[in-house]
């Protein structure tokens, strides 16, 4: 009796704690989304009624439109490049043994561990010296440097599940090393490649500091938000926030969907996995 009561209380406490935690994280985001549809100019209670005014207003603002477009360009480029580079790095780690492997893997993995302010400043100093400051491609290159770490981590995890015999088996069956890469390794990594693509896009889409440091006049959406905030409090902020939130969550959810998939695991002795 006693024990079952204690168990129930403990479970209640656990769920309660978890609920509070989620509420703490989600409420501010929810507030932004809710007030982005508020007719009032300033977020106040009571609610002034449903309105799409501020969403319409951000569509009409050419600077916000440009910033959104920039974010998409940078995000897409980052996703493509960092997935390609991340795959290359992960594959090198999987296939070859060489002396400087540990430094190599660390080199790819380390950028997210460096504080963004320092990374941003360092990149600013370096890029302005070589005359690449203030270009959209520069923002993209910096984002690739960070996102490639995540891409490599995801793809490496998948490659760890690739049976060591599979690639030699392909060679043995008449596939050149290049054909084995295309017909065996890439299809096997497909879920991880897709996940890496969307996660890199999300990393780039949300990144503020480096974009702010090196972007110059080319603003990405997060940079635009800060610049808006530095002026007067603008009701458009909430609407932008809601849009960014939806895009980011969508990207991460898609990435999750593919990292979660465990369909083609190593063949195990028991059938029907």
């Amino acid at each position: 009796m006693n024990r079952s009561l204690a168990t129930r209380l403990s479970r209640l406490a656990q769920y309660g704690f978890l609920g509070l935690l989620f509420a703490f994280i989600a409420t501010p985001m929810l507030v932004i989304v809710v007030f982005s549809f508020d007719a009032n100019r300033f977020p106040t209670i009571p609610w002034g009624g449903f309105s799409l005014e501020w969403h319409r207003a951000i569509l009409d603002d050419p600077m916000i439109r440009d910033a959104f477009l920039n974010s998409i360009k940078v995000g897409f480029g980052t996703a493509v490049l960092s997935t390609a580079l991340g795959f290359a790095a992960a594959y090198i780690d999987f296939r070859y043994r060489f002396r400087l492997k540990l430094p190599f893997v660390l080199l790819v993995a380390v950028p997210p561990a460096v504080p963004a302010t320092i990374l941003g400043m360092a990149m600013l100093a370096f890029l302005s010296r070589i005359g690449l400051f203030g270009r959209l491609e520069t923002v993209m290159a910096c984002h690739v440097a960070i996102a490639t770490s995540f891409s490599m981590a995801i793809i490496r995890l998948r490659l760890n599940d690739l049976s060591r015999d599979l690639e030699p088996a392909a060679w043995n069956l008449g596939a050149s090393p290049a054909a084995a890469l295309v017909h065996v390794v890439l299809p096997f990594c497909k879920p991880a490649l897709i996940a890496s693509f969307f996660l890199s896009a999300a990393v780039s889409f949300d990144e503020f500091l480096i974009a702010w440091f090196v972007g110059g006049v080319h603003e990405t959406l997060p940079v635009r938000i800060l610049n808006l905030l530095q002026g007067q409090v603008n009701p458009k902020i909430n609407a932008i926030g809601a849009v960014v939130l939806v895009v980011s969550i969508a990207l991460v959810l898609i990435a999750q969907r593919f990292t979660g998939v465990r369909a083609g695991r190593r063949p195990s002795p028991d059938p029907g996995e």
Binding site: S163, L173, G264
Partner: protein, 360 residues
């Protein structure tokens, strides 16, 4: 004989930390079923990988069909292999797995599908074509791996412990299947195994390896009855090795004395007195009796091997003998652990080990 189909010439493979294959010479005839055997780490799998081109030899040469394989990459050799892990592609269907080698050869879609289905049918997998490999049983996956290896109609099939993951019942069925395929196709099978039963059931010739070197090559029965050295005798399991020294010769038999007593053993060639007289006697050639002449020993235990049993006997003097007996003989003698027995055999059935080429 005609030129061998696969020739290994002083084949050598060194890794950083060990010498896996040491100067191996071996000729394999076209259409032969040959089994490479030995304990794990003896170099049999490495030899197979060298033939397939999955590893580069550090010395010597491999010729297939008379052509040197030096510098020929694995994907141009057409030496398909059935892997111990099967190495099926998990993201392809059964039919796509079997068609994979044809796809690499740029065979058209319709043609490669037709040939893949034909092979699936031939291996009793009709109707499984669209399945995912993970949905198949162990035996079915085994057949997919074999079909995939044979779909290009190669002239040699390499098999690396293909049956080791199957249970005993399936293993015997797959043995029959492999035997049938070998007969029907008439191609060369090179089969790596550590299981004596598989090699005996399937192979025309067996190659016994140890520590990277070939110990003996021959027909299974010959290797079993006439092992070339103590290693082979012990590896074949059902042989009892007796160590001794030649003392003389009488009536065409050698007198041999050792720690276990005095024995008489036939010899094809004369041996000087004092030279090595190690010989083996097969477990199924030994007679057991409750008393009388012969080696005295005590039954240690029994082990079932199909319809026969292996009796383990501790000989006075320390050695352990294995004797293979039918069930009814065991019962007649009432052999239980602790029972005293006498072991004897016809001297003609003993096999004198050839003298080692160099001293150990």
């Amino acid at each position: 004989m005609k030129t061998p189909f696969i020739a290994l010439d002083q084949l050598d493979k060194r890794y950083a930390d060990h010498h896996a294959v040491k100067s191996v010479d071996l000729d394999i005839e076209a259409g032969e079923f040959i089994a490479l055997m030995g304990p794990s780490g003896c170099g049999k799998s490495t030899t197979l990988r060298l033939i397939a081109g999955l590893d580069e030899p550090t010395g010597g040469e491999i010729r297939i069909g008379g052509d040197s394989m030096r510098g020929v990459p694995a994907f141009q050799r057409n030496t398909p292999m059935v892997w111990q892990s099967l190495a099926l592609f998990p993201f392809l269907t059964v039919a796509e797995n079997v068609a994979f080698p044809l796809r690499m050869q740029k065979v058209g879609t319709a043609e490669r599908r037709r040939r893949a289905l034909e092979w699936l049918d031939r291996l009793g997998l009709a109707g499984m074509a669209e399945r995912n490999v993970a949905q198949l049983s162990g035996g079915q996956r085994q057949r997919v791996a074999i079909a995939r290896a044979l779909v290009t109609e190669p002239s040699v099939l390499l098999l690396d412990e293909p049956l080791s993951a199957l249970d005993a019942h399936l293993r015997v069925r797959m043995q029959t299947e492999l035997s049938r395929l070998h007969r029907e196709l008439g191609i060369t099978f090179v089969y790596v195994t550590h299981a004596q039963s598989e090699a005996f059931a399937l192979a025309d010739r067996i190659v016994i390896m140890s520590e990277g070197s070939i110990q003996q090559v021959g027909r299974p029965q010959d290797v079993y009855r006439a092992p070339a050295n103590a290693f082979v005798a012990e590896f074949m399991g059902m042989n009892n090795l007796v160590r001794g020294e030649v003392r003389g010769e009488r009536d065409g038999l050698l007198d041999i004395a050792g720690a276990l007593g005095e024995f008489r053993v036939p010899s094809a060639t004369p041996r000087p007195e004092g030279s090595s007289g190690d010989f083996v006697i097969a477990a199924d050639r030994i007679a057991l009796a409750a008393d009388g002449e012969g080696l005295a020993g005590t039954v240690l235990g029994l082990e079932f091997v199909g319809s026969t049993q292996t009796v383990f006997v501790e000989i006075e003097g320390g050695a352990e003998f294995r004797v293979q007996k039918q069930q009814h003989e065991i019962e007649a003698l009432d052999l239980v652990p602790g029972r005293k027995v006498r072991l004897s055999w016809n001297p003609q059935h003993a096999w004198l080990l050839p003298q080692p080429a160099q001293a150990h």
